[in-house]
Symmetry: C2
């Protein structure tokens, strides 16, 4: 078990080094040599876990959902808001989240890696909206598939604008404002009035997320946490 | 005058050739040689108008706003919706619009070209929202600067998702759905109920845009139309 835990830790160190290099240089310009140097592991260990640069990028993409875990909420629209706010918070502080966005969205990347991260986000959003709908949180006539697609696409555009204009310094504020703009079209007024949507909540969620991920790792006895959704 | 008109036409042919090459290959991979071959003009004519690849890209960026002209509307929120729908329609059919988005948004491009197209879109949106506010079309408490930023960012994210997932085939539908999601947060109900927001309207606007641009060119007696906003 100790050996398995060590292997998981090594794998994570490599993924984080790869993420920081992809994030700074972009996929094309990144080299395995720089990832190796930054990770501090042996060449053998790196190639044991990831035989190629493409495998490293796929490791980063798969890791993204695993670092965005929150306990489930009674109010499913609050859970949706929380996931969006947490992702904004983590994207500014965790290269895996930022690099995964870059690998999913940039020109030429989808031929290489497909669109699975984009569709995973839409699917997670749709699942939460359907649960919200079953609980009576949504206005009549809301098309969950359409709204999920829009919430995800709009979130991504806000992230890109914040990145281009101010290096993401206002990302949590902008994502909170996005939810305040989108939710009146889908939420019943009684639920809408109770939702907590603010940049301060994003910071609280960031702390909660770290504690929750640590607990899942302990409980899983060395197993990696699986993304809810 | 005939000579000036010919120069304007040549310049436009070059910009459109450059746009189609940037759109297909991306800025880095594009070559002046391919743009020259596609434009069919002489090397001398191309370098007379655009001394470098960077100048060609700036020509594409400046041209984008000029191909998105519509007559002004009485209802300013309808004008905002129309501009968003028209841009979606033209982006699928006009390489200048599509290439300008790529040049504005992709990694490494903002160091080269700045963020002026992004801020121009936010400014145009804010101007229309302020006019809507003065006419009583907006709910009390709407922050026009914040909403303009969000409308623009969300529009861009929807465009990117539609591009990644289905090569923009559903872009007009998605942009219409985006406006249906965002406008309840800012529009007074009486105005909201009267807005026409549909993919069919996008096609009508495309035709109106071509007629309007042709009329402006005729009236300007060879002068290029200037973007409203």
């Amino acid at each position: 078990m100790a050996q398995q835990e060590r292997a998981i830790r090594t794998r994570r160190v490599i993924v984080e080094a790869a993420a920081s290099v992809f994030d700074e240089r972009g996929y094309e310009a990144a080299t395995i040599g720089e990832i190796l140097a930054r990770s501090g592991v042996t060449k053998g260990a790196l190639y044991f876990h990831f035989p190629s640069k493409q495998a490293l990028a796929e490791g980063v993409l798969n890791e993204q959902l695993a670092v965005l875990l929150l306990p489930s909420r009674v109010c499913k629209l609050q859970e949706l808001v929380d996931l969006g706010l947490l992702t904004a918070y983590r994207m500014r502080r965790h290269p895996v989240v930022s690099a995964a966005a870059k690998l999913s969205l940039e020109h030429g990347m989808r031929a290489q890696f497909g669109t699975h991260l984009v569709t995973a986000w839409i699917d997670t959003t749709e699942k939460l909206l359907r649960e919200a709908q079953e609980q009576g949180e949504l206005l009549p006539g809301v098309d969950c598939a359409e709204s999920a697609w829009l919430f995800s696409g709009a979130w991504t555009g806000v992230q890109i604008y914040s990145h281009i204009l101010v290096e993401r310094r206002d990302l949590e504020e902008r994502i909170a404002a996005l939810f305040r703009h989108l939710l009146p079209a889908v939420a019943v007024p009684a639920v809408l009035g109770r939702l907590v949507i603010s940049a301060e909540r994003a910071a609280e969620l960031g702390e909660e997320n770290e504690e929750y991920a640590a607990r899942l790792t302990r409980e899983g006895a060395g197993e990696e946490p699986v993304a809810a959704g």
